[in-house]
């Protein structure tokens, strides 16, 4: 029941997202067709194009047309390349996933482990030092870190490849050690800041539970420290789901920048290029896809939280 409700609540958000993606372009100053025509078209051709693309119809109608196409999977053709958007977008997503598939688990595991460590030793030197270090992680610009890592490990030490994808152009290559070499730097650049944020939030959440009353009661009943740690973790977990979900979605920001540095042909690069070229269908599609993934991710986090903590179901 709760599940259905949460899913139902996500629908208006999704619709709002599509609306936003759609309206965005039309709020922009300037002629949407400028990129397509590069200024070389006569008035007649412009008028013809305008009616072809439906730009002369009232906005709500345009929106519904567009939505109709989207639902079927037709995302239009790129103004820049002329090719169909959908396949290009999907392949870009595929490339991004190669980084994310490694980065997300690392972030989650490291974030939790470090946060837990910092929470339990909060008053000891390890905990305090860890907190400071983690705090500084948050301030690290991922793009700069990427550059520094490349400079250090790629140029100066020459241990790791500097650019490109190497064997990871295929998923099979992704699994190889050599492929891993190409992934290390982008992933490292990407995960540092989210690990800092997640570890900090985890630490705070666990500390809050540690300071509540029942851990003392567990101690008084003679339960071993390992049991208490586990129960504290179990209690802290539900509240953390939303921030973990959020941070994973935020990794998209870092992804855009990291892809730029490492010339990785993923979703971020796709979007940046589209924006620079004012390629409207591509922009719309890219934003739409990213936002939809985002919403689904948050929904999953919510559902997981609900399943672990019955109280939130009320």
């Amino acid at each position: 029941m709760y599940v259905i409700l949460r899913i139902a609540a996500a629908v208006p958000t999704l619709l709002g997202v599509t609306l936003f993606a759609f309206l965005l372009i039309h709020m922009a100053p300037g002629d949407p067709l400028a990129t397509l025509t590069q200024g070389y078209a006569s008035q007649e051709v412009l008028a013809h194009l305008r009616s072809f693309y439906g730009f002369d119809l009232p906005l709500p109608v345009q929106y519904l047309h567009w939505l109709g196409h989207v639902v079927v999977g037709d995302l239009g053709e790129s103004f820049s390349s002329g090719r169909s958007v959908a396949p290009e977008l999907v392949s870009a997503l595929n490339e991004s996933l190669k980084i994310l598939a490694l980065a997300v688990p690392i972030t989650v595991i490291a974030g939790w482990w470090l946060g837990d460590l910092a929470a339990w030793r909060a008053n000891k030197p390890l905990g305090r030092g860890l907190t400071v270090v983690l705090g500084s992680f948050v301030s690290v610009p991922s793009y700069w870190l990427g550059l520094v890592l490349v400079a250090l490990f790629g140029v100066i030490l020459n241990w790791l490849p500097v650019m490109g994808m190497g064997p990871t152009t295929t998923w099979a290559g992704w699994l190889t050690l050599k492929g891993l070499g190409y992934l290390v730097l982008p992933v490292a650049a990407l995960v540092i800041a989210p690990i800092g944020i997640l570890a900090r939030s985890t630490k705070t959440a666990i500390e809050t539970v540690i300071e509540s009353d029942f851990p003392e009661a567990l101690r008084a009943r003679g339960m071993p420290p390992r049991y208490i740690r586990a129960r504290v973790a179990r209690n802290a977990l539900p509240g953390l789901f939303s921030i973990y979900g959020l941070q994973i979605s935020y990794m998209f920001s870092g992804l855009v920048l990291v892809e730029a540095i490492f010339a990785w042909p993923g979703l971020g690069t796709y979007l940046t290029l589209a924006i620079t070229a004012r390629d409207i269908p591509s922009i719309q599609a890219g934003i739409l896809l990213s936002a939809v993934v985002f919403v689904l991710l948050n929904l999953t986090a919510d559902l997981l939280q609900g399943s672990l903590d019955r109280r939130t179901r009320r």
Partner: protein, 292 residues
Amino acid sequence: MTATAAADIDASPPRPRRPRQPVRDGQFWLALISAGWVGLLVVLFLFRDVIAVDPSAVDALKRLAWPLSAGHWLGTDALGRDVFARIVYGTPYSLAFGLVPTAIATVIGGGLGLLAGYGGRFANILIMRFMDIFYAFPPILIALAIISALGSGFLNCIVALIIVLVPPITRVTESATARIAGLPFIEAAELAGADGSRIAAVQILPNVLPPVLAYVTSIIGIMIIYGAGLSFLGLGVATPTPEWGLMLNELRTAMFINPIVAALPGAFIFVTSLAFSTLGVALERRWSHVGR
């Protein structure tokens, strides 16, 4: 005052008011250093005419010189321009990225959050659901979307960052406001017959400020990174403006030749962002003692 009441006077001394012994621990010194760094940047900028050369002066002969080479403290870039000068001249952009969107978004988001938290259910639903739409997007997406609509440029970036910040600030303010509004002393004020805006201004706002300001100061450092990041992507200031993020992009290819210079602008971004974050943590610690 009757005799009985006199005998009843609770003549106890004030409860321990933690003697305002400022805690001079490691965190304090870090905060001091951070403040010093920011101050240094500002001073350098103010005296830029005196201490730095023309940042746009191209010198084809001295390209990608190493730091501490003749006359160029931090080396030169791919076009021979002095990096130190460019960094100094680029300071206001980064500081602006950090401070301006934050300040404006705090006013807007704070006001909306207060309204949503204390202004009645209708206002709450309206405002918070609207903000929820923004939460469906990763921040960079919103920024990219705004930029794609408005076009690139420094001012547009600022606008984009403001829009990115308003929803989270609204949310933080709303939750703090709602929490405070549920406390008994607000109910007492309402029972006295005071009207909403007075209560909001005198009783609620001062109590909401500490957590909100703590959040906001932690954002400044992140905004510096974001703003520079947008420029890095080519969506912010245009060449040849000396902005740290843009410089990082320009120097990228130079990395194979002169990795130190190539990484310099980013180092400045990192350190400045860190400085603001540290200051934020220190301020938060100080403010959380108010009203305890």
